[in-house]
Symmetry: C2
Subunit: 333 residues, 2 copies
């Protein structure tokens, strides 16, 4: 069976690096962040009441599939999604987006397609594209290769920050369906799946959950205790919301075909620790489940309660629906 | 003679792309930016009085020199400099920085050196490092190659925005010395200079002018009419502050050796349109020249009045000090 590490991506080492970075980055003489590095987004206070949420991300090796197929129309949507979906997880309303685009040689057609995707993503996320950097680096990137990074800003009132402090056992875990693989685990998926069959499926743009997420943060805030964007690290992202609880997923969302194909090559626990497995976002709610589900549904997203929080700290127990055997899978951080 | 275009970098095409981007990006239904894309930084209003300045940049092919020499200690300073020096040009006080770091394979030693540079840059710029993204993309980057992008946020009160509206003929042009080539024009410099002689010189970290710049913006604001960070496009950056005036530079700062070496391979006008030529930042001032010069000097930067604004719209006339002939050079946008 294959693993993410064998595909050349060492999550443990990346995480160790981020830990070192967090330590080095905390220093005296600066305003105290409302949220520091290492979570979904940092939050910098700019007035007593107002914080600026900031995050950056790329799309990983999904880029290579876009390059290989020469289809760059939607990779910009993925880029915006990776940033914007993170901002709502701290309770922020996304506001502005910037992109960094570095390529061997600027190709007007590619660049325009890329920007059209970014603008479509900004529309879906209700953000403005306010700037960017375009760099031609002929000796760094090989022919037709490029990289993109996104940077997003949102605003959040101090009393609306999602800190995870109100997450307790016995609350509802609401799953919102993904569009497919989104932009995580592609290094592994590219390695094990036949790209002649799956390339277009892997290239499907990431869902942008911003509009319904902002709506529940505004209208159903009393019920919303946590939001997890399911990205690198798979379902472990849910555990990162709170160290106090565990998660029982007893009724997972239907699993898209691409994950069933991946399941032939990747072990069960590794699947849930690497991919979104059909669930792109999770909301932890204390009451208001029907209203939250209905809000996501009204924007076209499939959503339902998939489980509950419990007292088994930092563990997720999943009644997997990958096969008719309904195996139980346990993962932890 | 060589040009930036021959080195594989097409500034005109990049600028046309940015123009298309600006048009596509302005759309109804969004708050009006105080500064839009295309300037040094975008400014997004978050209250009636407070704006958030945002910018993104990379370090271009200076990276390749760092990679080739295996010296990554200071490239992070350049990355912070490229962003932070832009923020002060709109009148903002830099506050937070995020980095995107993508590499073929995460190398702890390289990553630590890179982060130490970024933290040193953040110290110099009085910013917090609040987050970042580290991506391992073995198939996109070749061995030991990587790319980095920076994102920076600052704050600016509405009545403290530098818009260029108060720039008029007859004002002082104050030049602040660069440390050398900074992070622009490296594709051309790498092509024409012998790297065995000049590599370390080309790798010198970019000056970060934030502390004195914020000080003059705070204490001498009535005199400060414009600030230009001299980056890609060379001295044309000064013209971009205002379409109403031209610039006469009759007493340029001493020119570092590296530019004299470049002058053997690159035509005069091209030099001033590509490189900082020893002047990394320009302040346009209406009075207060001695105090502004003194402020930069107190932070260790060489500064002096180098010229004046005049009525010859969108033209710079330079009494070049590159040779004893004191040639006159004219450049325009």
């Amino acid at each position: 069976m294959d693993t993410y590490a064998k595909a050349g991506v060492n999550i443990a080492r990346s995480e160790a690096f981020v830990e070192r970075l967090k330590k080095t980055a905390s220093r005296p003489g600066h305003a105290t962040l409302w949220k520091g590095a290492g979570g979904y987004a940092a939050v910098v206070p700019v007035t007593d009441q107002l914080g600026i949420a900031l995050t950056t991300d790329g799309v990983g090796t999904k880029l290579l599939i876009a390059c290989e197929l020469g289809k760059l129309e939607t990779i910009g949507i993925d880029l915006v999604a990776m940033c914007a979906n993170d901002l709502v997880c701290v309770g922020a309303k996304p506001s502005a987006f910037l992109d960094y685009y570095a390529t061997s040689k600027l190709n007007d057609e590619h660049a325009d397609a890329l920007i059209r995707g970014i603008l479509e993503g900004c529309d879906q996320a209700d953000m403005m594209l306010v700037g960017g950097e375009t760099a031609e680096m002929p000796d760094l990137y090989s022919n037709n290769h490029f990289d993109i990074a996104g940077f997003a800003m949102g605003t959040v009132a101090k009393n609306e920050l999602l800190t995870g402090a109100e997450i307790n056992a016995g609350q509802a875990v609401i799953g919102i369906a993904s569009s497919g693989i989104h932009s995580n685990g592609l290094s592994l998926a590219r390695k094990v799946l036949p790209l002649d069959v799956f390339a277009l499926e892997l290239l499907k743009p990431t869902h942008i959950y911003v509009k319904p997420a902002v709506k529940i943060l505004t209208e159903l805030k009393a019920h919303v205790k946590g939001i997890a964007n399911i990205t690198g690290g798979g379902w472990r992202n849910i555990l990162r919301l709170s160290a106090k609880v565990g998660i029982e997923i007893n009724d997972p969302l239907p699993v898209p075909e691409v994950f069933l194909a991946l399941a032939k090559h990747v072990e069960m626990a590794e699947l849930y620790k690497t991919f979104n497995m059909g669930m792109g976002m999770v909301v932890i709610a204390d009451g208001g489940v029907d209203e939250i589900v209905q809000t996501f549904a009204s924007y076209g997203f499939t959503a339902r309660q998939v489980g509950v929080t419990n007292n088994r700290e930092e563990k997720i127990s999943i009644h997997s629906n990958l096969s008719s055997k309904r195996e139980r899978v346990e993962i932890s951080n």
